[in-house]
Symmetry: C3
Subunit: 286 residues, 3 copies
């Protein structure tokens, strides 16, 4: 029926704590690009991205992130804090080299695992927060908006600057942005490819708090996770999924179509030329 | 056709002033749990809930509310102000005892009349405002958000704290909340089961004004109803219904499915145990 | 497929710079009711409405506006600023005389070209801004909200006051309003037929900046257009269309149905009487 959600009946309780079944990839070995630390006292798991130099979302890092989210979700942690081992960059976003003159089969695998990562974060059954301890451009920002709360350190930037390298984000990526920001702000920021400073991000609501240090950011994220203490965890999970249902359904109802449209776009001369110029620019900056 | 609204053509003028036809129950006798006072001068009707001790939404109170809304709507009142005869509680929300170890047929009747009450308030043809002169948790808050304006007295709480007693609200209840608050706030508040203080409610926009007394609250609601004086009443009604069409359609397109999903959820051990603990907690408070 | 947009694949690059193909009317001669000035230095085109006394949207003015938007869009201008030659009125909105005791065929033509104008502004491939140098009621406001940025001079009014002359706006017109303002504000303002003062419009976000003079307003609009300099123009256009897709689709999926519903409504005694009284009121004001 029309009203049925593609993620299954919203009131179906099992299996809700482990949401892997909605994703497409089987889990291989974890390459060790992420670390999980669980605080014994609070029961909160801190998931750190640890791929030097800038936590670029390579196929392997995305695989390890999904694997780690699954582990944390299924091991009854009280919450998940996403952060970076790097003190300058939260994540630099997708590995753009995978998009430049791509091998077609690998590109499909790459985009599919990015869809999976987005779903893993959006549907994660336990409370999630991002301690943004460095720059968070493009997919780095998308990961942060997929969490339920955002604490950021000063003097960094966050935002989806895809139009600056000729990229067109998918509708489900736009919906992540819209779930946090007013529509007027989203259209303008996406069109501009705007990178918000920490202060600007706070003013528009893209982040919830500013922290003086990573330690403080982690504590603020933990305090946020503590705000759910009076809620029944399963009712909370079902409620979160209901709130996110329309966004998630946008992707789930036609994952193959999104993949095809993205691959086609990535292969256009327009995008290849725009990306080439962008990659040249990045080289010169170094 | 796709674009046709389930509430009928949005531009269809008759019958618009009496919206009962969209609801499912025939009207029985009114049990006198509500009172209607019409101000002869202003033409505004004040509808008071009057079921001691805390205006719990029992089957009878909901029946009387719907009946009173119909009367006020069809008797050409200039506006409707929803308030409470109790000076501590606006409404304590649904009668949770009806959800605990329920008789199945009665549970269906109970949920159906709650759907009807929600529709009666959402589609009410005349201007509506809530004078929230006491606590407004759960369905008490949903009733307030179904009105067009909210004035609240200090030192009370308002919010949908369903997750605290393991309940999962229906999508149409979430949409009431979203029609008033930004999405980011809604997801967080629903997940937390947050009860906003009067001051917090004002800051996020869940209420529009704070009043020093019930008398003042009623006057502020009347002033709001006065802001429609330049609008043609029928064009106003049609415009209101258009603005609310997508939310109302969420319920109307599959009322039976919503009923089934809710009844199934209410019968789960998860919910029955959560509710049992919650009811025990309420007893101890007394 | 369901997810396919009615404006074609969102990632389809050609033909994107000229969006006429989505509209229904062939272009006839331009009657000279608009002027285009292109700043050689900035490459920005200023499109002025120039139909005394108050830029009422007549069939001819709408025709010329669409024609001018097409020209500017296809001639590789860097941006479009919509403004008025009149220093008191931006645009008084639709020519209400066309709605009063209308010739049916002409009414259909009139409403269809208004749909076309809305589409032309919403889908315009280049950055758009409105320099609102006078009153902008009704369709004057809708045109401004269809642009990406709004700068307004003090002491004027803007808003959709349709209910004051018994009109019911179409859903796609409401969506223009919702793309700029929060839902709670939109419902209330549409129901009231509210005209916001410049200062009120700034506070709710209906406009982005206030300017001291028309010259300043044009400069602020040009500065806004400059914020897209780092974005790839084609990726920007596709991103803008994606952000607006759900609104535009509301109209495109059943233009004929919208036309039929509007024509039927306009022919009702309710509307004809309301409009008659409104037109009498306007006469008396003069």
């Amino acid at each position: 029926m029309l009203r049925n959600s593609l993620i299954g009946s919203l009131r179906q309780i099992k299996p809700i704590l482990c949401s892997q079944s909605l994703r497409s990839l089987s889990n291989g070995e974890n390459s060790g690009l992420t670390t999980i630390e669980v605080d014994d006292k609070s029961g909160i798991a801190t998931l750190s991205m640890n791929l030097p130099p800038v936590n670029t979302l390579t196929l392997n890092l995305m695989h390890d992130l999904i694997d780690s989210i699954n582990q944390i979700e299924c091991n009854k942690s009280r919450g998940l804090i996403l952060t970076s081992s790097n003190d300058k960059v939260f994540s630099a976003g997708l590995d753009l080299k995978e998009l430049y003159k791509p091998d077609q089969e690998r590109l499909k695998e790459f985009w599919t695992i990015f869809q999976d990562l987005w779903l893993a974060l959006h549907l994660c059954g336990i409370p999630t927060a991002a301690a943004i301890n460095g720059h968070a451009p493009a997919a780095g920002c998308i990961m942060a908006t997929a969490c339920e709360y955002r604490v950021m350190l000063p003097d960094f930037v966050i935002g989806v600057h895809a139009t600056r390298f000729s990229f067109l984000v998918s509708k489900w990526m736009m919906l992540s942005y819209q779930s946090v920001l007013p529509r007027r702000i989203v259209e303008r920021a996406l069109n501009q490819g705007k990178l918000f400073s920490t202060q600007e991000a706070l003013e528009v609501g893209l982040i919830d708090e500013v922290a003086g240090s990573k330690k403080e950011a982690l504590a603020q994220c933990a305090a946020f996770i503590g705000t759910f203490d009076k809620a029944n965890p399963i009712a909370r999970t079902l409620t979160k999924r209901m709130c996110r249902d329309s966004d998630v359904t946008e992707l789930l109802r036609d994952r193959a179509g999104d993949l095809r449209a993205c691959v086609d776009y990535i292969n256009t001369p327009l995008f290849q030329e725009g990306l080439s110029a962008h990659l040249e620019g990045l080289k010169e900056k170094k």
